[in-house]
C-alpha cells in the first residue's frame, strides 16, 4: 500500500476585475501537455466573459492611467519580484505547456521576469522619447505628450505561454492602458497562474484581465466592442483569415490594430514598438504672452 501523498490540484479560473471567477458559461476544456497527458480543465470563456472583462478594464482605466509613471514602474517591478519567488512553479508549468526541458523552461521564466523589469523601467521614460516641445513659429509653448490609448484587447501569441504573453502584456499596461488578455488556447495555464502573481503585486484589479478560450470565439466580440480602443492580434499569426476578419470588425470604431508578426524569437530585444502602438500623442498649445503691460494676444 502506497503512502504517496495525493496532490492538491488547482482549479484554474479566469481573472476579471481583480477577482477569479469561473466562466459564466460554465464551460471548461481539457488542457494537456505536449504528450497529450491531462493537466487541467481550463475555463472556456464566453462572449459574456469578454464583455465583463472590458467593463472591468474600462473601470480600472482612469485610476491606472492617472497613476504616476513612477508608481506604475514600481508596480511592474513588483510583478517581477513576485514572479521571481515562484520561478519553480512557472518553470514546471512552462515545461509542461511547451514540451521544454526544465532548463529551457527555466530560461523562459527568467527571460519573462527580466522583461517585466525592462518594461518597468520604461514607465517614466517613454514620454521623454515619444514626446517633447515643438518649436512653433509663434508665441506659444507647444508640448506633445504620449497618453495611453485606453482599453486594449490582447490576443496573446501561440507557442510562448509565458515569455510571449509577458512580452505583449507588459508594454500595453506600463504606459497606463488596461488590458483584456486572451491566453493562448493550447497553453493557457501559465497565463492563468500569472494572474495570481498580478493579484499579489499591487496591480489594481481590472488593469489586466485574463481569459482562457478560443481566440476566434473571443476575438470577434472584442474586436467589435465599441468600448475597446485597440487590439493586438498576435494570436492570429498563422490564421490570416481570422486576422483580416478581426481587423475589419475593429474598423467599426477605428480601433488601433497591431497586426500579427510572423512567429519570432521572443527572447530578442523587443524595442519600443509595442509600447508606441498603444499610445496617443496629445499636443497642447499654450500662449507664452509677453511680460509687458501690453498683455498677450489670445
Amino acid at each position: 500500500m502506497s503512502t504517496d501523498r495525493v496532490n492538491v490540484l488547482k482549479t484554474y479560473k479566469l481573472y476579471v476585475g481583480g477577482k477569479f471567477p469561473r466562466s459564466e458559461s460554465g464551460r471548461v476544456y481539457e488542457v494537456t501537455d505536449s504528450k497529450g497527458n491531462w493537466l487541467a480543465n481550463a475555463p472556456r470563456s464566453s462572449r459574456k466573459d469578454a464583455r465583463d472583462a472590458v467593463v472591468a478594464a474600462r473601470k480600472a482605466f482612469p485610476g491606472w492611467s492617472g497613476a504616476t509613471a513612477y508608481n506604475r514602474g514600481q508596480v511592474l517591478y513588483r510583478v517581477a519580484e513576485m514572479l521571481e519567488g515562484r520561478r519553480e512553479q512557472f518553470a514546471a508549468e512552462v515545461a509542461a505547456a511547451e514540451g521544454l526541458s526544465r532548463a529551457k523552461a527555466a530560461a523562459q521564466v527568467d527571460a519573462a521576469i527580466d522583461r517585466w523589469v525592462w518594461y518597468a523601467g520604461w514607465s517614466d521614460k517613454v514620454a521623454q522619447i515619444a514626446g517633447g516641445a515643438n518649436p512653433v513659429a509663434g508665441p506659444y509653448f507647444n508640448l506633445s505628450t504620449p497618453e495611453p490609448t485606453g482599453v486594449v484587447a490582447v490576443l496573446a501569441p501561440a507557442g510562448s505561454s509565458l515569455l510571449g504573453l509577458v512580452s505583449v502584456v507588459a508594454p500595453v499596461i506600463v504606459t497606463g492602458n488596461t488590458a483584456v488578455v486572451v491566453a493562448d488556447e493550447a497553453a493557457p495555464l501559465p497565463a492563468l497562474s500569472l494572474a495570481e502573481v498580478l493579484a499579489t503585486s499591487d496591480v489594481p484589479g481590472g488593469v489586466v484581465n485574463v481569459l482562457a478560450g478560443s481566440a476566434a470565439e473571443l476575438g470577434a466580440p472584442l474586436a467589435a466592442h465599441q468600448d475597446v480602443n485597440a487590439v493586438d492580434l498576435a494570436a492570429t499569426a498563422s490564421d490570416t483569415g481570422l486576422a483580416t476578419e478581426l481587423e475589419v470588425a475593429a474598423a467599426d470604431n477605428l480601433k488601433r490594430v497591431l497586426r500579427p508578426a510572423p512567429a519570432g524569437d521572443w527572447t530578442a530585444d523587443p524595442g519600443t514598438g509595442r509600447m508606441l502602438a498603444f499610445l496617443e500623442t496629445k499636443t497642447v498649445w499654450h500662449p507664452t504672452g509677453g511680460l509687458g503691460a501690453a498683455g498677450s494676444s489670445y
Partner: protein
C-alpha cells in the same frame, strides 16, 4: 448698404447699424486657369484613359472654372506603376539631395503664393484673407520643415537607418486643398517615398498647379503623381495592390471604409478624420479674447474644419455675458465675396455640403434648440450659409453629436470643471478642444483629462509644421506634423 459692386457673388454684407467697407477685391488676373487639365502621371499631363472629365466650379458663383480629367482604374494603375518605377531612384537618392528638391518646392510656393492663394479661394470659396495668410504660408513652411528632415532621418528616433515604405496613396479633402497636399506629400518625399495623390472632387485645381511646381523644381518624373477624380477614384487608389501606404484625410465614414479595405493587407494606414471639438470657457476666462477664439474656432474656413470648436461649453455663471458679447461680435462678421479682402466668411464648398449643413441645422430647430443668426444678406448665387448659433443645446441633440462641418456653433453649459470635461469627452471623436481660463493649473489639469489630440489653451485653430496633429478614437490615428509625422512614412 453701399457695397453691391458685384451682385453675382455679393461683397461682404455690412449689417445695418455698422460702418461699411468699400469693396477691396483681390485681382483674379494673377492666376491663369486653363480650360481643361489632364492627370499628372509620370511627369506628364495626360487625359484619362476612358476620356472621362468633370467640371470644377467656383462655389461663390457656381461659375465653371475649368474641366479636369476623371481618373478611372486604368489611370490609377498607370500612376501607381509610375510611382513604383520612380521609387527606385528617389529612395536611393542621398537625403541631402531629396532635401534640396523639397526646399526648392517650398521656395517656389512662396514665390507663387499670391497666385495660389487666389486660385485656392476661387476653387474652394474660402476668404482670400485666409488662403493668403493661413493656407499658403503654412504650405511653404511645411515643405521647408520636412525638407530639413530628409538627410537627418537617422536621428529621428526610428532606428539607425530607417527605410521608406514605398508607394504612398494619399487622398485629401476639399477644405484646405493645398495645405492638406503639403501635409501628405512633404513628409512622404522627405522619407524617400513616391506618391499618388488624389485631391478632392470639388477642389482639384491647386494640386494640378502643384504639379507645375514639381516641373519647375525639376522633381524626377513619377515621384509625384496627381489623379483628379471622385470617390470611386479614391477607392480604386487605396485598394490598388501596388500601394504600400495609405494616408487619408476626410470623413469618419469614409475612413472606416478605407480601414476595412486595407484590413488583412500589409498596407500601412493613417487616418485624419472628423471631429466635434469642445471649446470650454470658464468663468474666469478673458471673455473678449474667448469670443475671438470662439469665432475663429468655428467660423474659420466657414467651419469646414475637422478640428473646429463646434461645441461651445460655457460655465453657467458667465453664459449670458459671453453670449451677449458673442452675438455682438457675430453681427460684425462680413459674409460674401471670398476674393474681397474684407470678407470674414466665404462660400460653402459645394451644393452637397450646403445641403448637409442645412439638414443638420433644421434638425437642431426640430429637436428644440434655439437658432440664432446675425442679420446678413447672402449673395443670390453660389453656396452660402450664415454663421449660426444654437442655444439651449442638450447633449442628445444631433447638432451636439454630429459633425456639421459648417458655420454652426452649438452652445451648451456646465457648472463644474468635472462636468465640462465629461461633456467635452462625451463624443466618439477626439480631435481637438479648447480651454479658456486665466488659471494656469486649471489649463493643465483640464488639458490632461481631455481625450483629444490637440488642445488649445486660450487660443484656437493654430497650426505649425513642427507640431503633431491628429486624433484620438474615431477622429483617426497617426500624426501629421513634427517628428511624429515621419513615422507613417518610414519602415521601422
Amino acid at each position: 448698404m453701399t457695397n453691391e459692386s458685384t451682385p453675382a457673388t455679393g461683397s461682404p454684407a455690412a449689417p445695418s447699424g455698422l460702418f461699411t467697407y468699400a469693396p477691396a477685391p483681390e485681382s483674379r488676373a494673377v492666376v491663369d486657369i486653363a480650360p481643361s487639365y489632364g492627370l499628372f502621371v509620370d511627369g506628364e499631363f495626360r487625359e484619362a484613359a476612358d476620356g472621362g472629365v468633370m467640371p470644377t466650379l467656383s462655389p461663390a458663383t457656381e461659375e465653371k472654372l475649368s474641366e479636369v480629367a476623371h481618373a478611372g482604374a486604368a489611370d490609377v494603375d498607370a500612376a501607381v506603376r509610375a510611382a513604383r518605377t520612380a521609387f527606385t531612384g528617389w529612395s536611393a537618392l542621398p537625403g541631402a539631395e531629396r532635401a534640396k528638391y523639397l526646399f526648392r518646392i517650398a521656395r517656389i510656393v512662396q514665390e507663387r503664393s499670391r497666385e495660389l492663394a487666389v486660385l485656392e479661394t476661387l476653387d474652394n470659396g474660402k476668404p482670400i484673407k485666409e488662403s493668403r495668410d493661413a493656407d499658403l504660408p503654412l504650405v511653404a513652411a511645411h515643405f521647408f520643415y520636412y525638407a530639413g528632415w530628409a538627410d537627418k532621418l537617422d536621428h529621428a528616433g526610428f532606428g539607425p537607418s530607417p527605410r521608406p515604405v514605398g508607394v504612398a496613396a494619399q487622398v485629401i479633402p476639399w477644405n484646405f486643398p493645398l495645405l492638406m497636399l503639403a501635409w501628405k506629400i512633404a513628409p512622404a518625399l522627405a522619407c524617400g517615398n513616391t506618391v499618388v495623390l488624389k485631391p478632392a472632387e470639388t477642389t482639384p485645381l491647386s494640386a494640378l498647379f502643384f504639379a507645375d511646381i514639381c516641373r519647375q523644381a525639376g522633381l524626377p518624373r513619377g515621384v509625384v503623381n496627381i489623379l483628379t477624380g471622385d470617390g470611386a477614384t479614391g477607392a480604386a487608389l487605396v485598394a490598388h495592390d501596388g500601394v504600400d501606404k495609405v494616408a487619408f484625410t476626410g470623413s469618419t465614414a469614409v475612413g472606416k471604409e478605407i480601414a476595412r479595405t486595407v484590413a488583412g493587407t500589409s498596407k500601412r494606414l493613417t487616418l485624419e478624420l472628423g471631429g466635434k471639438g469642445a471649446n470650454i470657457v470658464f468663468d474666469d476666462a478673458p471673455l473678449d479674447q474667448a469670443v475671438e477664439g470662439i469665432v475663429n474656432g468655428v467660423f474659420f474656413n466657414q467651419g469646414q474644419v475637422c478640428c473646429a470648436g463646434s461645441r461651445l461649453l460655457v460655465q453657467e455663471s458667465v453664459h449670458d455675458e459671453l453670449l451677449t458679447a458673442l452675438q455682438r461680435r457675430l453681427r460684425t462678421l462680413r459674409v460674401g465675396d471670398p476674393l474681397d479682402k474684407n470678407t470674414d466668411v466665404g462660400a460653402i464648398n459645394s451644393a452637397e455640403q450646403l445641403a448637409r449643413i442645412t439638414e443638420l441645422a433644421e434638425s437642431g430647430e426640430a429637436e428644440g434648440a434655439e437658432r440664432w443668426s446675425a442679420p446678413c444678406e447672402l449673395p443670390s448665387r453660389g453656396y452660402w450659409f450664415a454663421p449660426t448659433l444654437f442655444l439651449g443645446v442638450s447633449q442628445a441633440h444631433r447638432v451636439a453629436r454630429e459633425e456639421i462641418f459648417g458655420p454652426v456653433l452649438s452652445v451648451l453649459t456646465f457648472r463644474t470643471p468635472e462636468e465640462a470635461v465629461a461633456k467635452a469627452n462625451n463624443t466618439p471623436y477626439g480631435l481637438s478642444a479648447g480651454v479658456w481660463t486665466e488659471k494656469g493649473s486649471r489649463i493643465l489639469a483640464v488639458a490632461e483629462r481631455l481625450r483629444a489630440g490637440v488642445v488649445w489653451a486660450n487660443t484656437f485653430n493654430k497650426f505649425d509644421p513642427t507640431s503633431p496633429f491628429g486624433g484620438y478614437r474615431e477622429s483617426g490615428f497617426g500624426r501629421e506634423g513634427g517628428r511624429h509625422g515621419l513615422e507613417a512614412y518610414l519602415e521601422h
